[in-house]
């Protein structure tokens, strides 16, 4: 070398642990948290006594009891009918919206295309409360129509089809998002080719556009169907008065309301539910390929190949606006009115009974106020820890030569297949076995860990595309520069992935703030969370303060998403 100064010399720094040890530790920790808790549920379902009691033996009696219980089969029937109706309705509606907003000259389509996403963005439970306040048999809108117009009331929210109607309103935007993504990524020249070959716009739509998004539709049908099978809040709120049981409420009641608690039976039911949903999602993966799972939402809406609606333009606009009003504006109004008035009924002008007493109650009542601080703590601390865990696990799964990395790739998306109730029960039994003192459950860690594991797949699906878009040469360059695996991860990957971790944190925060299913089995006095408090007290008849709590939850969500969008460009996704 002809360099002027002396060449540098130095010894290479090494990480504290060899790469393979770090990788094994992360892998084992991840699998124990994600897959591990399933083992105690299966065990509990096959054991004759609850696991916290001494004795007991291996038995199939729990399954026998479950499968011979007519109430179980009634619940299965209701759940399946509900899921089928929801799937058909939301796929039809979601696809129609996607086509209308991306491929036609519908007036104000830009506004609608984001406004109709509100049910995806805000927590489900407050919106559901809004629906109930307005459209239930004793709801404001229902009674107003009954008293002031000759129109018939054709809906009954307290029936299976009625519940499906509400569920469609919440699920259609999910389908819409997936279908819109598929339409946006579709090459516009395919449609132009059809047009220049002589096809009319409508024919092009029918013969080219829609068939090409069929995989996306199949994918979203499977997702909606699986989610509808496990939904808990909706049947609890709407089904109770007519005693309509779903699979989820059957498990809920047999655990919490039947004396003595049927924990073996419920565990067996949870295993059956988990197996069903797992099989459904395996079929879906087989049918649509793994790519669909990582589909990024929010591609550009192409204005190319616009179908001219002609005379149908304004009638379709009116229909869309009416739908938007009925499904989003009125329920949100219902939520706000319930929260801000002392009594909500058509016979009293709501503006004369405005008050903030419900909010006062939320502040004063220890259960309400504790729910807020608990949920916020879980969302912030749990969201942050889960984000770091997701980043580390995703890097082991995708950016290492670790032998078992593929197993981690599957494990990380599996929580999406796990119904929230099953997650809750899985952690309940895990804590029973590992922590007989109950210290973990008595702290927020119990619910926090369950929520975090449940949200893992969501955070991962936001994080992974960012990781994949970072060229592997970036970490290879660090390796050849002299960094061992962990140093390369720390000094290069983690730094470059900060924005992705920000996005992931915001989504996890929002999800964990409004999550409640797993808490059903884990909650102890002092560890209440917002969602579960709303659910329990609404059923107990305390509408006003619950709506106020819902408004607070929605407000926090919107503020955090707003900041997330500002800082990291977070977009809500399915």
């Amino acid at each position: 070398m002809t360099a002027a100064t002396a060449l540098p010399t130095g010894r290479l720094k090494h990480s504290w642990l060899p790469a393979w040890v770090t990788q094994y530790l992360l892998w084992a920790g991840g699998l124990i948290l994600i897959v591990g808790p399933i083992i105690p549920v299966v065990w509990a379902s096959l054991w004759s006594t609850p696991l916290y009691e001494a004795g007991g033996s291996l038995t199939l009696a729990n399954y026998q009891d479950l499968l011979t219980d007519p109430a179980w089969w009634e619940a299965v029937r209701n759940s399946v009918v509900f899921a089928v109706l929801t799937t058909i309705g939301s796929v039809a509606l979601g696809t129609a919206m996607a086509v209308l907003f991306t491929r036609t000259d519908l007036p104000a389509r830009r506004f609608f295309s984001s406004a109709l996403l509100v049910p995806v963005i805000i927590p489900g439970l407050p919106l559901l409360l809004g629906w109930t306040a307005m459209y239930a048999p004793a709801g404001y809108v229902t009674r107003w129509i009954d008293e002031h117009t000759p129109l018939p009331i054709f809906w009954d929210l307290y029936s299976v089809p009625g519940m499906a109607l509400v569920s469609i309103g919440i699920a259609a935007p999910v389908v819409y998002l997936l279908a819109r993504g598929a339409l946006a990524s579709q090459d516009a020249s395919l449609e132009m080719a059809a047009r220049s070959a002589g096809a009319s716009p409508l024919r092009t739509l029918r013969t080219v556009t829609i068939p090409l998004v069929r995989p996306a539709l199949l994918n979203s049908s499977m997702i909606v169907f699986a989610l509808s099978l496990e939904v808990l809040g909706l049947p609890l709120i709407l089904g109770t008065s007519n005693d309509i049981q779903f699979v989820s409420t059957y498990l809920y009641d047999n655990w919490l309301n039947v004396v003595p608690s049927q924990q073996g039976l419920v565990s067996a039911g949870a295993v059956v539910l988990l197996a069903t949903v797992t099989v459904l999602l395996l079929i879906r993966n087989r049918l649509t390929g793994d790519v669909a799972r990582f589909h990024t939402v929010g591609g550009k809406t192409t204005s190319a190949a616009t179908v001219k609606l002609g005379g149908a333009r304004w009638p379709l606009f009116a229909a869309t606006a009416a739908y938007f009003t009925a499904v989003i504006v009125i329920p949100l109004g219902g939520l706000l009115l319930t929260a801000f008035t002392t009594i909500l009924t058509p016979s009293i002008d709501p503006w004369t009974v405005l008050s903030t007493t419900h909010f006062q109650k939320v502040v004063d009542d220890p259960v309400f106020s504790r729910s807020i601080t608990n949920s916020l703590t879980i969302a912030i601390v749990g969201g942050a820890l889960a984000t770091v865990a997701i980043a580390a696990l995703a890097i082991v799964a995708h950016r290492s030569s670790f032998r078992h990395r593929t197993s981690l790739q599957y494990a990380m998306v599996y929580p999406r297949a796990m119904p929230g109730l099953v997650t809750g029960m899985a952690f309940f039994w895990s804590f029973v076995i590992l922590d007989p003192s109950g210290a973990i459950r008595a702290s927020l860690w119990g619910i926090g860990i369950a929520f975090a594991v449940r949200s893992l797949a969501l955070g991962y699906s936001a994080f992974y595309p960012q990781l994949a878009s970072l060229g592997e040469d970036l970490d290879r360059a660090a390796r050849t520069s002299g960094a061992d695996w962990w140093t390369a991860v720390k000094t290069v990957l983690f730094k470059l992935l900060r924005p992705a971790m920000g996005v992931s944190f915001v989504l996890l925060f929002v999800a964990m703030l409004s999550d409640y299913d797993p808490a059903v089995f884990l909650v102890t006095p002092g560890t209440e969370v917002m969602g579960l408090t709303m659910l329990k007290l609404w059923i107990a008849g305390s509408a006003g303060p619950v709506a106020a709590l819902g408004v607070i939850q929605v407000a926090i969500t919107l503020v955090v998403l707003g900041f997330g969008r500002l800082l990291f460009g977070v977009r809500p996704g399915a």
């Binding site: 070398m1 002809t2 540098p8 060229g471 360059a477 050849t480 960094a483 730094k495």
Partner: protein, 363 residues
């Protein structure tokens, strides 16, 4: 600087053999280019040297240091191999300044304070980026980013410099300048360099020696002149540059030249054999377009004379490329002369007409 020794390097993906018993000897301070079509194994070889790929068998050493030896169970991780690598994508870390990128290998080796700052400045001057030390990569052009990558690879003096098609993301004009610049720099610091290229112009103009690879096999190792003028086999002949290939069979073998009958051409052609050829053996003749003489003088010796008609003419600025029909055979001829009229006499130099055993199949 030590030599690079690769022997018996083998790698298979499922049933697909990526490297088949590859042996390469890189001499101290030379610029050795791995050249071949995509999938020939050149990149796999480079990554195996860097430790980013895991060969099934073989041995890689630089001087006394064994980087990889399957039989002895030696497989140094990439960070311990001390190879400076410049990636095709440059892989400059966008979150660090130019100086931080270049200083990274030093930081990992606990080179601190003024010593590190001095070395970074020295390397940045070497790659002519002294003024841009505090810039971020997104503020740099492609060529500048590449020089950052090179500076980073050289910052802590590596045993070897490995370059993976570093010019493929530059536009044509810049590429030419970058080649000369890199070549000068490499000579100046005298570092043994392995360079992966799929552009043959790049390989011919820069290399001390070229390794031509195909399907995981080394076809020829030689200087650019040897590779171009005396290709070892038909694959190399066809892969490097443009060449006319004429199939025929041996009429009369001879020690210095063979007489070959080419269907479609009335007179037999004389050619230089690249290996012993028997009578009646199928052969393929290879002639470079620029060696063919147009309208040779009647007394010029050492030529096969063929009459041809002009089919087509492409004007390329400094030269013209003709497509000519000789009998039923099409020949490409490159010249700066202009052919007047539609028929022309051609002279194929006997010692530049190479005869290879075998037919058109160049596997």
């Amino acid at each position: 600087m030590p030599d690079l020794q690769i022997s018996g390097l083998t790698k298979a993906f499922d049933d697909n053999v990526a490297l088949d018993d590859v042996a390469i000897h890189g001499k101290d301070g030379e610029l050795l280019t791995l050249l071949g079509p995509s999938g020939c194994g050149k990149s796999t070889t480079l990554w195996s040297i860097a430790g980013l790929h895991d060969p099934d068998r073989g041995r890689i050493s630089v001087g006394d240091a064994v980087l990889f030896d399957r039989e002895q169970g030696i497989d140094l991780p990439p960070e311990a191999r001390e190879c400076g690598v410049v990636f095709q994508s440059y892989a400059v870390w966008p979150n660090m300044t130019v100086a931080d990128n270049v200083g990274y290998p030093l930081k990992l080796r606990r080179v601190k304070g003024a010593e590190r700052a001095d070395r970074v400045r020295e390397v940045l001057d070497l790659v002519e980026l002294g003024d841009l030390a505090e810039r971020y990569p997104h503020q740099l052009s492609g060529g500048q980013q590449q020089r950052v990558a090179l500076g980073r690879a050289l910052a802590f003096p590596p045993r070897l410099l490995l370059l993976d098609e570093p010019f493929s993301n530059l536009d044509a004009k810049l590429r030419e300048r970058a080649r000369t610049w890199l070549r000068d720099l490499q000579r100046e610091i005298g570092i043994t360099t392995v360079f992966v290229a799929h552009d043959q112009d790049e390989a011919l103009s820069m290399s001390d020696r070229i390794v031509v690879m195909d399907h995981g096999v080394v076809r020829q190792v030689g200087t650019p002149e040897e590779i171009y003028d005396a290709p070892a086999d038909l694959f190399v002949a066809d892969f490097i540059g443009t060449i006319n290939l004429l199939e025929g069979h041996v009429l009369r073998p001879n020690r210095t030249h063979v007489e070959v009958a080419v269907p479609g051409i009335s007179d037999p052609l004389l050619a230089a054999p690249t290996q012993p050829l028997a009578a009646d053996a199928p052969v393929t003749l290879a002639v470079r377009p620029e060696t063919i003489v147009i309208d040779p003088a009647p007394d010029q010796a050492g030529l096969n004379r063929v009459d041809a008609t002009v089919v087509d003419r492409s004007y390329l600025g400094d030269h013209v490329r003709y497509r000519l029909q000789a009998g039923s055979v099409t020949l490409t001829v490159q010249t700066s002369q202009t052919i007047v009229g539609s028929t022309v006499a051609l002279g194929l130099p006997i010692d530049r007409t190479l005869a290879y055993a075998g037919g058109g199949d160049r596997g």
